[in-house]
């Protein structure tokens, strides 16, 4: 008994390596070290206090997050602001990420919720097509570009009028190329319900677009 207690005490002494989580500065070298990390490893590194790991998560997921925000909001300014908010929320909630879905799916969920919350507060300013200067149109003729722009305006306006869940399901499935299983995970519904939302979204979109 005494021996075991002494052994326990010895474990608690100076000789034991401190394996507790330590915050450490993350510099470029740290980011290089983590460049090959899997998503799970990056999350673990973040939770160990390596802020550089989160920079890499942002780098890997910023484009799809921005795109989903753009599809919801219809303008660059809101999409940019909301994308930043998505990552900030993700950072704050990272400790709750259990790995039950992929990091991408989890970020999509945050993005959808963030966008829906914003839409509930205000109607986004729809960006005129000629403000979309960052679209690469070099390979298009003028008539092709005009046609594409007209179509984009109509689709964007129609999308904005869809019920929230239908809009989210259609955006995630059509533009973000998520599987129905992933769409269901993001929306917190069954796969059947996710498919039904896509179906009804397309039916409503057809009505809103008129002849397509």
């Amino acid at each position: 008994m005494v021996d075991s207690a002494a052994a326990v005490l010895q474990w608690t002494g100076e000789g034991v390596t401190d394996v507790t989580v330590r915050e450490r500065e993350s510099g470029p070298a740290d980011a290089l070290d983590m460049a090959e990390f899997s998503e799970a490893e990056l999350v673990a590194a973040c939770l160990e206090g390596r802020r550089g790991a989160f920079d890499l998560i942002v780098e890997r997921h910023r484009r799809p997050v921005y795109q989903i925000c753009y599809r919801f909001m219809g303008n660059h300014e809101d999409a940019s602001d909301l994308s930043q908010e998505v990552f900030l929320r993700a950072f704050r909630g990272l400790k709750n990420f259990k790995g039950g879905s992929t990091l991408g799916t989890w970020l999509h969920r945050i993005a959808v919720n963030t966008c829906l919350n914003r839409l509930a507060l205000k109607t986004p300013r729809t960006e005129p097509i000629d403000e979309m200067q960052h679209v690469d149109t070099r390979s298009e003729s003028a008539s092709e570009r005009l046609l594409r722009d007209e179509r984009a305006v109509k689709v964007r306006a129609a999308l904005a009028r869809l019920p929230k869940k239908q809009r989210a399901a259609l955006i995630l499935r059509t533009y973000q190329d998520l599987s129905h299983q992933e769409v269901a995970e993001v929306l917190g519904t069954s796969v059947g319900a996710a498919k039904a939302n896509v179906f009804h979204a397309l039916q409503n979109l057809k009505k809103l677009l008129g002849d397509v």
Binding site: M1, V2, A5, V8, L9, W11, T12, G13, V16, T17, V19, T20, V21, E23, C46, L47, G49, R51, F54, D55, V58, R62, Y66, Q67, Y70, R71, H76, S80, S83, Q84, F87, L88, F91, R92, L94, K95, N96, H134, V135, R148, R151, A152, V155, R156, L159, L170, T174, Y175, G192, K195, A196, V198, F199, H200, L202, Q203, L205, K206, L209, V212
Partner: protein
């Protein structure tokens, strides 16, 4: 005749279901028409392209997120593996030390190994020194507090095996180890095992 379900239409649009696999589609003009319209709408919807921001935008974006995140406290895992185990082991270990300390004099002075007749056992029990009431022991109170925070139902599938104690101890932070040391010091020092 029942028409195709929404699920089936979506599977057909995805291509995860082949049209040839559905005899109904061949026979039903209404379903063929609906599928064609849905497909056309789907293709029209693809026309809404999200713009590709410039590379400069991405650099600025990452910098902005980095700056915003740097003012946030570091995320730490709310649930850590072995967290319950550590509490359970800490409580169980401390309880074992305290119980052993309380019963120590009884065991060494009056109880011998081997079989004891029931009458003799009863007599020994009568003569045995009475341990102080457990409720009056502060250390045991601390252990009871620790144990009361453990969800034993959730811990039921966690069976301690050889080496777990070492791992749990290694996983403790400095504060937890200091608390365990204090507890054990107190128990060993007070009880003089």
């Amino acid at each position: 005749m029942s028409h195709l379900s929404p699920d089936t239409f979506v599977d057909l649009l995805d291509g995860s279901l082949a049209e040839e696999s559905l005899p109904h589609l061949k026979a039903c003009q209404a379903c063929r028409q609906q599928l064609a319209e849905l497909r056309a709408t789907w293709e029209a919807a693809q026309g809404f392209e999200a713009p590709e921001p410039s590379p400069l935008f991405w650099d600025h974006f990452s910098a902005r997120v980095h700056e915003a995140v740097s003012t946030e406290p570091l995320p730490t895992r709310g649930w850590r593996p072995f967290a319950h185990w550590r509490m359970a082991l800490l409580a169980a270990g401390a309880a074992a030390v305290l119980v052993a300390a309380a019963l120590g004099p009884l065991r060494t002075d009056t109880v011998s190994r081997g079989t004891v007749a029931p009458e003799a056992a009863a007599a020994l029990a009568d003569q045995a020194p009475v341990a102080e009431p457990l409720q009056e022991d502060d250390s045991l109170g601390f252990v009871a507090d620790l144990a009361s925070n453990i969800n034993w139902d959730n811990s039921a599938d966690s069976v301690l095996t050889h080496g777990d104690a070492d791992r749990v101890l290694a996983d403790m932070d400095a504060g937890e180890r200091a608390e365990l040391r204090r507890l054990l010091d107190e128990a060993l020092g007070n009880r003089k095992i």
